[in-house]
Symmetry: D2
């Protein structure tokens, strides 16, 4: 018999027998659990589980039906995903520093990220050549002058993302603030160049230098209407010394930014991140 | 109703319905799962699960009986443990460097480690005052001269450990090699001052210095008859530079040794470590 | 000829020939430079150098005189210190969590820290036995009731520190705020249980949990009148996950607190830290 | 007056007055020292210093002459380098895993690495498109059959490197062993996918998995005739768990490989690495 790798990501209030019921449903369908991880937050009455299992080919439909019955009984919401399915479409927004963009493009080219680049959008034209050399569509959306320029720019960016059919938006060092409507409409991952909540807002490396910290960091998080305050997916830091000036911090930090952003996108695409109460559960 | 926190650690071949069956047994006994983690190694046909749950007071016995029936059916071995139970008795063996010993004594004194010091045994007398000031028994077992000295020493140490009723032996920088019979008879955790398998054996900091590595480490592992080759529980490293000579490595490394050893002992006492195929599963 | 290890720590405005002049003075005195490190902050017109050298026995006085002449010419301030000199007297202030205190006492007992414990002062009596078992003086200074209780307490603590002859005050998880006069009068190192500037103030582990960060940290810094805002000496972080609740953060973080505080005290006692512009230069 | 940033890297036996003499020479030429770092290894009678300073435009030649006189007196060898000078030519050798190559190409494209890609050489043709899209020359050198195939391949690769005028060769996951003549003739940096000296040789991730280590690493080092045994420039590690199989180790480790290789190349190009006694001094 041939099997298909399947991932079930489920959420529900904390009820007895959830684990037993789901495990039984998988066994009944002839499936074999390969990995399972779960998290219970009793204070929030929130239970979440990620189960990875092999299901006999052809059993997918019926298992979905079985699950629907169970889900109703347990007030459960769930995603069922097969890793072999087509890649997700991703739109990347970027300003001038290109290191996160280049890193993502390289990982997509090598197949490290199971994603398809829907388009790259920038408020500068400087990265066009790089993007087009990788065979992707590049949109330069200039910010005009006048009182309505910002709104017009946001409008244009929003339309391009909409038209691209992107399922995920990645802000790869995009230095403009997006309107609340945008981040509410599109699942959006941002990288901020500090270990949040320290140094949120503008010029974090200048802030870090001026505070005299001995480590700098980077944070990848889901964007929410409140700036730099969304659920954190991934953070990393590295030591620095008095010898490092702002330029050094920027150079050293850029490697952290690449890594946390690539890692957060990877985790998201693999259905390993669940958010609740402005925090994330990361099943890695 | 009052509840008792209970931990179930089970091992069995990879069979269908293990998770479902165990979850059902807990639910049947009126228990609520708080945490659960599991690991399947298909290549070794080995499944292991750690479930932490609250069981109604008084249900412990009956749940044990139920489990026995399940266990037979699934070829499962298991431990059932209540974290509130009395501390484990631990014997510590140490040579001259006292930093790991002092660290462990401090953690026991503060209640960070749920352990009772059965005794401290050393081939030197230099740490007696420190140990006795903490109110623990200290045995100095000298190594004599002559062809039988080593065997006599091992014999004496073995008897003291035996008499102490220790359930766990911790080698806190004990610089002598114990006979195979000892480590087969007593569960023994050792700390080695390198990131194994690099620099096993004698004088790892000298080896590290001479190889010019840019990071040094420490490893806590279960001792087995083969030197420095047992299942690894915990490892940590820290960067070093060309400026660090052997004395610096020793000083910097001593902090890693403290941490990995204390952490490994903590994980073991909390029933978070399972070994198979010369490796560990660590449920942290 | 016998030599004495000597450390020169000097500070001056950025002038030409400082390095050449100092190196020549050491060579003239028959000294051999073993290590040298320096830092120039052009923006602050601030130069600092730490030179470790071997000086012929008996040449100490004359070298000091030579240096005085040079120093005047270069507007230089300097410390000349011989590592073999007697240990510094250190007063430790602590509240209820004893892990940092126990760690420091262990390091002093083993000779890892070249310090002498002048006294331990606490607003609780719970750590008395531990401190006295190590042979140190313990003062319990209760905080009374009424409007003047805090001031009276600060007054009493201040007198005890004064009388102890301490050259350095260490706040090893001391949960009360000291008056500005205190930290201006006594060089004081504090440990804060977060990666500052994130989560300054009260209950940092609760703050960290509620923000959903993926790493927690600890910071050792010189205390200044502004709370948690003084020059940072040492910071460290460690990853955490959604599985870690506030108690876990506290337990995991306590190891970071121990390490950064011990390390900061060590660096300070070895004359490796220089402060300027609310930052530190750490010559490690 | 305009200034030119200049770097002096000098090596000599441990002689008195080296620092004073060099500092005086720089001051005499009207230069201002910006950074200076040094290292003395008394056991090897080896002194090395890196001085970064601003020299009046036009003074370069005369300063070189002055230095020559000093160098003879002190048995000193030295490099004098201006960071503004043209980029170094770098040849990259790679086999099938493309992540290190892609990372380096991205950094060169963004100007993060002050290098010019002389050519990319591979024993596979799979990365041609990527390399040519970046505008670089790609050579596929197949390994033929028969007893002389390896030698012929090495010969062909050697000629291509020679013809490319490369000053540095980078092995970006090149899975073939180069002959001793090659690494003796060309300065060559290799990345090995383990924390050396652990797991040298073939299939380090398989070795790591089978030993059950709790951290994996990557090492960038200068290649020498002895495999994986040359002077280490840069190492990094990251934690892994029992949940990570060999594929996970490979995926997680690939990020370490990228970083340590890029960092080692950067340090080398900035004249921050000096080797002696099979070790490196890294002035970062």
């Amino acid at each position: 018999m041939s099997y298909e790798r399947t991932v079930l990501l489920l959420r529900c209030p904390d009820r007895p027998r959830v684990v037993a019921t789901v495990a039984a449903a998988i066994a009944d369908a002839g499936g074999n659990i390969v990995h399972a991880d779960q998290h219970l937050d009793a204070a929030h009455d929130f239970f979440v589980q990620r189960v990875e299992f092999d299901l006999p080919a052809g059993a997918h439909e019926r298992f979905g039906d079985d699950l629907r019955a169970v889900a109703d009984r347990l007030s459960m919401t769930w995603d069922l995903w097969r890793p072999g399915e087509g890649p997700n479409r991703v739109a990347i927004l970027v300003s001038q520093p290109g290191h996160c963009l280049v890193d993502l493009l390289g990982r997509v080219a090598l197949g490290e990220l199971h994603a398809e680049i829907a388009c790259v959008i920038s408020n500068h034209d400087s990265l066009r050549t790089l993007v087009e050399a990788h065979g992707h569509r590049f949109h330069h959306v200039e910010v005009g002058d006048g009182p309505d320029a910002a709104a017009a720019h946001e409008q244009a960016v929003g339309s391009l993302v909409e038209d691209s059919g992107a399922e995920l938006v990645v802000l790869a060092r995009y230095m403009r603030i997006l309107p609340a409507e945008f981040v509410e409409r599109h699942v959006t991952i941002n990288v901020h160049h500090s270990f949040l909540p320290a140094f949120s807002g503008a010029r974090p490396y200048h802030q870090a230098y001026s505070r005299g910290v001995k480590l700098i960091g980077a944070t990848a998080h889901y964007a929410t209407p409140e700036l730099d305050a969304g659920p954190i997916i991934c953070q990393q830091v590295t030591p620095v010394t008095h010898r490092d000036d702002v330029d050094d911090l920027r150079r050293i930090g850029s490697d952290l930014e690449r890594l946390v952003l690539a890692r957060a996108v990877h985790l998201h695409l693999e259905r390993r991140v669940v958010t609740y109460a402005n925090r994330t559960v990361v099943f890695d």
